[in-house]
């Protein structure tokens, strides 16, 4: 028998992978408006971090945000509906891939400005502090956001004011089409250190390691000890977005090595089997994920577009 908590991590990672594969297929078959930035390869980061969170903890997400959204508990069908611009979508078709927000699960939204949500996450942490709750905010961002000044401004204030926020840096090595060695001087971990923020580096392909590191950071925040910084080393299997198919900025060998040697889903499967899970338990999880995604995309494709008159709604609250 597989331990239920770990099997759930496996299921969640599989749902994200199947979801993203389906998004890619929608793009290639020209059934989805616009583009999407796929999270394939990075699943262990979102799933591991969100496994350490409560429902009432907040997250902010990025342009590559489907994984964070699903890991925080969003419904697959409403996400597909949003990606397809349908009225039943999370944002009534007004946000699309890069702006999915799920208020019911305290997901404050994906963000199409790199690093753009760093202030929002830190402000949510300020709310928790001001109201005396023990909620925590997690700010997901890629290593590309380390080039943005906003992040350093809010890290400074989070440290000064001991705010309950966890900065999760997903280091997938590439700022869009450019290796981070060409864009980022010094050590990543030196940045939080400069603000007195404790930093942990973790293998982002190991969901259990990510979960444990996140749990420690979240516990620290919850108990009022202030912010933490988590660097998760990971890899984006696909291009910057679905249309980035030639990827001249990196080698196929590099891509295949990550997929062959360090796949987070295969890795957890092997560990589950080693620890006594039965193969049919894993197969059942795979079947469940495939079905959930198939049903979800069917829902999204069948859902109607919004009434064009809704274009003027929601400009002001």
């Amino acid at each position: 028998m597989a331990p239920e908590a770990e099997l759930e991590l496996y299921r969640r990672m599989l749902v994200i992978r199947r979801f993203e594969e389906q998004v890619d297929e929608l793009y290639r078959s020209a059934r989805m408006p616009g583009l999407a930035h796929l999270y394939i390869g990075e699943e262990a980061v979102a799933v591991g971090v969100c496994a350490a969170l409560r429902d009432d903890d907040w997250i902010t997400s990025t342009h590559r945000g489907h994984g964070h959204c699903l890991a925080k508990g969003a419904a697959v069908d409403l996400m597909f509906a949003e990606l397809l611009g349908k009225g039943a979508g999370y944002n009534r078709g007004k946000g699309g891939s890069m702006h999915i927000a799920d208020q019911e699960r305290n997901n404050l939204g994906a963000n199409a400005i790199v690093g753009g949500s760093a202030g929002i996450a830190t402000g949510a942490a300020l709310t928790a502090r001001r109201r005396g709750t023990d909620q925590v905010a997690v700010c997901f961002f890629g290593e590309g956001a380390l080039g943005q000044g906003l992040l350093y401004e809010v890290m400074n204030m989070a440290s000064l004011w001991r705010l309950p926020v966890v900065y999760v840096c997903e280091d997938n090595l590439y700022n869009e089409y450019t290796h981070r060695h060409e864009t980022t001087a010094g050590e990543l971990a030196a940045r939080p250190a400069a603000f007195g923020i404790p930093c942990v580096e973790v293998d982002g392909q190991d969901v259990l390691a990510v979960r444990d590191a996140a749990a420690a950071a979240v516990a620290r925040a919850r108990s009022g000890e202030g912010p933490s910084f988590l660097i998760c080393h990971t890899y984006r299997y696909r291009g910057h977005h679905v249309g980035d198919v030639d990827r001249a900025y990196r080698t196929r060998d590099e891509e295949q090595e990550w997929q062959r040697e360090r796949d987070p889903i295969a890795r957890l499967a092997a560990e589950l089997l080693r620890s006594g899970a039965r193969p049919d338990e894993l197969e059942a999880a795979e079947e469940q994920a495939t079905t959930e995604v198939r049903d979800g995309v069917d829902f999204g494709l069948a859902a109607p577009f919004p009434d064009p008159a809704e274009v003027t709604e929601d400009v002001y609250a």
């Binding site: 907040w58 902010t60 979508g89 999370y90 944002n91 009534r92 078709g93 007004k94 946000g95 702006h99 927000a101 208020q103 404050l108 939204g109 963000n111 400005i113 753009g116 949500s117 760093a118 202030g119 929002i120 996450a121 830190t122 402000g123 949510a124 942490a125 300020l126 709310t127 928790a128 001001r130 109201r131 905010a137 000044g149 906003l150 401004e153 809010v154 400074n156 204030m157 000064l160 709604e313 929601d314 400009v315 002001y316 609250a317």
Partner: protein, 334 residues
């Protein structure tokens, strides 16, 4: 103007702002102030004097010199149930926070299909002639007025400053309030009791039949001075203040234009692509067949604000400039 009621005092515009903040903070514990030098210093202009003593440093928060950072933090707080009032010391620094304001705060409600909201206020300044040169003198209210999702208030009197700010704090959408830094010492009647001025309602500051002068913020006093001079020549100017550029009370402006048939729009922002252009165009569309002449615009020159007084004073509209234009209009020379 409202009838003076019992309990009406003479306050400066700065005192009216201070009173609005204090009343709203007493009424609603989710309201807090964040910005540079807002606590013990009470802001460089002392507008916030005494607030930290009453409400404490947790609600009157001194932030580092990181405008985008604390604006973003305020936004996150607003999205999770607080009502921050962000202090951007000079309107010129709005350029620093435009991502958080225009890409984030303005759009969060719309992008989320109406699920999320950002009930926050940004208080900042406009206005030249303090000899502060090009980076501390701009009037950039047109920039934010261009972004759907933001409301923009421009109080010109102590009464309006208090009532508009209280409305802004209670609004569910982000509101940017521009205060003319030369007007903080302007005195006027302010009721002691609780009142609000709805956003989007223009106010006739002086009635008149011959020419409409639409004036915003700092230019209301300029327009009133011009109207006084014109009255001595037998020309009755109506001075109307939209009070908010978003929402814009087009109906009231068009109604005044239709009555007088002649319109001058006066605003301290740059002329090109500015507030005067939008208002003049809206009036022309709504009152074209009532107009005796093209709508006139009097705005700041399209140059950076210079330092030397003899240069700076040339860049902003003056009562004489408005008087000259009004004479030409009324005498059929335009």
């Amino acid at each position: 103007m409202p009838e003076p009621a019992a309990g009406v005092r003479e306050l400066t515009l700065g005192q009216a702002v201070n009173e609005a903040l204090a009343e709203e903070m007493r009424r609603d514990p989710s309201v807090f102030i964040i910005g540079e030098d807002v606590a013990e210093a009470g802001s460089p202009f002392k507008v916030l004097r005494g607030l930290v003593e009453e409400f404490g440093p947790d609600r009157v928060m001194d932030a580092p010199i990181s405008e985008p950072g604390f604006t973003g933090i305020a936004l996150g707080a607003a999205m999770t149930g607080m009502r921050p009032v962000v202090d951007i010391m000079f309107g010129d620094f709005m350029t620093l926070v435009m991502d958080q304001v225009a890409n984030q705060a303005a759009k969060v409600h719309y992008m989320s299909g109406g699920k999320l909201r950002a009930p926050m206020v940004i208080r900042t300044t406009l206005g030249a002639t303090r000899r502060s040169a090009a980076q501390h003198s701009q009037s950039l209210h047109a920039w934010v007025s261009h972004v759907p999702g933001l409301k923009v208030a421009l109080p010109s009197t102590p009464y309006d400053a208090k009532g508009l700010l209280k409305s802004a704090i209670r609004d569910e959408s982000p509101v940017v309030v521009f205060e003319d830094k030369m007007s903080w010492t302007l005195r006027g009647p302010v009721p002691a009791e609780d009142y609000v001025i709805p956003l989007g309602v223009a106010d006739v500051k002086r009635p008149g039949r011959d020419v409409t002068v639409v004036a915003t913020s700092s230019m209301v006093q300029v327009a009133l001075s011009a109207a006084e001079i014109l009255a001595g020549e037998g020309i009755e100017a109506e001075v109307i203040d939209p009070r908010t550029t978003v929402p814009l009370d087009v109906r009231a402006l068009v109604a005044s234009a239709a009555r007088t048939g002649r319109v001058i729009v006066v605003d301290e922002g740059h002329r090109a692509y500015g507030v005067t252009a939008e208002i003049a165009s809206s009036i022309t569309e709504g009152a074209f067949y009532h107009l005796d002449a093209p709508v006139q615009r009097v705005a700041a020159m399209d140059v950076p604000v210079p330092f030397s007084p003899v240069l700076e004073d040339r860049t902003v509209p003056t009562p004489d400039a408005v008087v000259d234009r009004a004479r030409d209009l009324v005498r059929g020379r335009l």
